[in-house]
Symmetry: D2
Subunit: 372 residues, 4 copies
């Protein structure tokens, strides 16, 4: 049973290597009638694109999305949607020496263990290049959930190394503060605490000079999510969100709501009390992070994701080759000294896909649905 | 698309409410030829059972597993295996007043939002009672992965409230230290740091007296896991493990390897260096927690799981009823003041099911498999 | 990837052997709010039951369905529904000599080829006993599609041996004529052409006396099926119906609409012309059998199913044993001389499950659905 | 739950419209190590191609397959394989008048019923153009099953209109006789009874002159299929084959082995007797068509498929428009007067995909598999 599909009702299937001809995604299950054109992809593809600032990988990709099927006259038709993104700035020669040497922290060794052969060019399928297909699919998902429920997903950087940002509450975290500084220029590190953002950029510059990399934490909020989403007992919304986020390269941890802080809490602290509200369920606090019993309450979804430092560092490391012999290695190629800035749109895409899937799945929870 | 199945190739489907007649699991995809009898279930069912010590729920359940199909003369036949566990000490009357009042931290409100009607007896399907079916299925999974690869899964309690245990390394964490104290008596809190264990029990006793509950962290290790397990790009092993654990009641966070600590690490620290080894891949450290690129390296899998304090606390809380009006509520019924001791076998079961599934899936990674 | 589940959104998973303790089905995805009690199962279980007349197997089974989960106060709750049917008149000793000898036309040899071991008692999982779980699930499906769309499924026997029935048109085929003769007594062969029915019974009596068995054709109609059901390009409604019917024991052929007769037709004959109608799509003829492009038109679904003669015949046949050596065999046990009368409710159940699944799937074809 | 994927372990997902930019298929689950280059697609794409002879559609398509991912240095890597086929001779203007008028026998009306909007150009997704993706995927499946088990699939035309071919036995049906006449020229109708073939061509020429079309029956054989394939109780091999074939456009009936002729047979005739054989299971006759209990015996698989006459006929027909009003219609565009010659490679592709899927699924039937 293969692993290149995600979602049940809004279902994506991806293919593509880092230095092959193209990346592709087929979206199956998008309902008919959704407005969708190739221009819709521009913003998120640009947010994910390498080369967008001096603190990310300098690979230059246009990442234009071609819609091959599933739309007619600017609307989805209900048939499967194929999206194609060509690889343009591939430099497979950068990886010439890596066929037989296992880069530390990389999947070279495990792909060999799994498949016995692999495409060594830029990590092949194990490269974060594959996330281009996820972000493309995420645009369709975002369009759909915005259209149906005005759902808004906002991601940002909460921590890089030891620099912690002070974040606004989930109700008021604004995309503008994540994408732009107060002077209107690009917030290249995507941290809404602009003072912390400056320090983060400094730190990233420093680790790059040190031929090193640095980890961090991303923070995600989803607002206007209706109550009732999530399918017990295995496809709880928190479970599918955790899978979606852990399926991304470099993710080492995921928290919902109060997360690991719950370990030190008493029930009388942790329990969010329900309070009367004109607009459905409402709790006075949001330690639960938006789901109870794995089903959404209608309160904002709040997630935190730990991202490890980039494994590719341009310094000599000791490792083994495919014969098990010791080898020294200096990784070449173009890499991000810190993954967090580009992780933001990628994480958002996966959250959008999960919500799109569960919005559709929820249509079948009741025999007759007066709300539709 | 419903949510009561988990796994692709080794696939479980469960049904059952807290105070209905029974819980059932059908395991589909267990290969023919595995030794399996009803006695195999005794140990893990006893480890999960309420009433096993004074620090857990006092509901008394025998939890005998009846094998309804799929075995012949003590071996699996390859056909689907149905396991039945009757509910015996159900006391639906304990929940008489809860039909219309939403317990804080519980799924009453979200089930109503989702389905418009629900079984209020003990939380119905949202009760942790459903994990009895997971543990039963986990026994079959554990048998299979032990038989095929000598895989060993050991869970324990790492933290309760502010009490942190000093844990042995993943290579030497022993089931005996988790289940028994040095005097041979039961380690009722399942923490291998026996000094910390004593303090944890004290804390749990205290919160119970306070009519409150307390959270904690569970720690899991899987050893002898062969390299190569995990299906990029969505069904990475870490992704399926995270989903499995997040699908459990009360889970708020999951970490693999260095987890959230990765945020402050540099690549030169985080990268585990490969070293020559007679037995396949080996790294000098294990920050990666057993997977790279979502595929197992062969190093021990290491996971940590944050579990929130029990939502049911026997004190008056303010909440709303199903009409949205304010109501005061004192939850009755029999509940655990701390979920962690019984969480250990439940988490192990889910990890075992994921590994059973991926061991079988890995059989199809290569065209010809000389290793089988 | 195991094979004991069917359906995507309304999904059933079954388990159970012919002479094991019980058969079980878990239905996942039945929406909340459907009226369902244990009495609902009585009629179809009686129609499927062995021992119902002198022309079927004389095994005596009460086939009472126990609802283990998924309902509360007589309504489905949206959680998974487990149904249990105990085996009561199992006589495993009847099969004592069959462990090592392969019955002609049976799955003994292929189960051994597949799994290397098998439960020989009454064919184990390969026995038609497993259809008891399908019929139980079919009752829930029938209830749901009747409630939502007044869909009515009527099956009957169209042919046994060379005796062909004259069937009423799909619009007017009545359950009463299938289940009752004009004098009110049971129509034990389920053929609505009562003159043909008498001859069929005679033929079945004859083949039983001859220690032989006989094949036939079943005919199925589904009315009030809304237009729009079916999911191109692989899960066309005709494709899922064909799979559902071919998954049943002894089925050798399936036709939709004009079926094999289409081979000799010209397009100008085969094409059903659309005609104006007050109630949606309507065609002047129904060669298409209810679907175009794999999607329902709203015209009645019409299917024919070829069922082979029972493989178990109480006469000596030459075969081989599990070592490949020649052996003579006389099959014992209790068997139907003709499968058709009991096939009718079984085929109806599978059709109902397909329609229940596709009715729910269709809810997600459009972004906004004004019709619900 | 969408319908554009097929197969479980060897899984294909397709997208593409008749007159959109391209058709795409992603194959997920093809094991690593299979030789595969773009040249491998040439033969079957040419066999399926329109314009290949004067008795098929005159649309001119090169149908070159571009491999976008999943291979490295001429071998599959185990990652998902994306195949792209551009549409080149699209003439959407041919369909200008068809937006609002429902062609008899076509899916225009049902797509409108399902999705409320549709791509009218050449039938959009409902066109047989989508089978180009199936045939491309079928090439990979054929390569795999030939490599692993020397499985050989041979399809041919058995009947067109009232002209019935005398077919060689399944053991000796040769591709050469299907593809070439004795003089070495192309057997454009793909009937191995060359005398019948000549009459069939004559008939097809006649119906085209009559502005009409004609149906027929295709016959398929699969040889060297190992015993043990098929997953009871729902994914029996016969069930998955039936679904695969019924998912194809214009298919109205499917038979396995003796098919509808079984209706008139007695058990003593129908039962194929097992006979000793050096090479596994063997039966003296093959009425069962290659499966018992839905699992392969090792005898040749034998299937027959009824294909209706092309719905598009270039004569005036009376129909309705999307408002339900009567309209006269003369279908334009380029169409096959008989679908059978091009159906042969398409049916083979679907059978190959089913066998590839089940060959991989069978690897998990037993705990330890000594045969691999």
């Amino acid at each position: 049973m293969p692993g290149n599909s995600f979602g049940q009702t809004f279902r994506i299937t991806t293919a593509g290597e880092s230095h092959g001809p193209a990346n592709v995604v087929i979206i199956d299950g998008c309902p008919a009638g959704l407005a969708l054109t190739e221009d819709d992809f521009l913003i998120d593809m640009a947010r994910r694109r390498p080369g967008q600032s001096h603190i990310v990988s300098q690979r230059q990709e246009d990442d234009r999305v071609e819609v091959l099927s599933g739309t007619y006259q600017g609307k989805t038709t209900g048939t499967s949607i194929a999206l194609l993104v060509r690889n343009e700035d591939a430099r497979p020669k950068d990886y010439a020496g890596l066929q037989d040497v296992y880069r530390p922290g990389h999947a070279d060794a495990t792909f060999d263990a799994k498949y016995r052969l692999r495409d060594p060019r830029g990590g092949g399928r194990a490269s974060a290049r594959e996330t281009v297909a996820r972000v493309a699919a995420g645009v369709v998902a975002k369009n759909m959930i915005a259209h149906l429920n005005h759902i808004e997903i906002v991601g940002c950087v909460a921590q890089i190394g030891n620099i912690l940002a002070a974040l606004p509450s989930p109700d008021i975290l604004r995309v503008d503060d994540v994408e732009r500084l107060t002077d209107g220029s690009a917030n290249i590190v995507r941290c809404p605490d602009h003072a912390a953002a400056a320090k983060m950029i400094e730190l990233i510059d420093q680790v790059r000079k040190d031929r090193d990399s640095i980890g961090g934490v991303a923070h995600f909020v989803a607002r206007n999510v209706p109550s009732g989403l999530g399918e017990p007992v295995f496809d709880k919304l928190k479970a599918d969100l955790a899978k979606a986020l852990f399926s991304l390269p470099a993710v080492m941890g995921v928290e919902m709501g109060s997360g690991f802080a719950s370990a030190t809490m008493r029930g009388s602290e942790q329990n969010d009390l329900f309070v009367p509200s004109a607009s459905g369920l409402h709790t006075s606090t949001n330690h639960h992070g938006g789901t109870l019993g794995g089903i959404t309450t209608g309160m904002p979804l709040v997630m935190r994701v730990a991202v490890k430092p980039t494994s590719s560092i341009p310094r000599v490391q000791t490792t083994v080759d495919s014969h098990g012999d010791t080898a020294d290695l200096r990784v070449t190629g173009r890499h991000d000294p810190c993954l967090l800035p580009r992780f933001v749109p990628i994480g958002e895409a996966m959250i959008a896909i999960v919500l799109a899937d569960h919005l559709l799945r929820q249509r079948n929870a009741k025999l007759v649905d007066e709300v539709r």
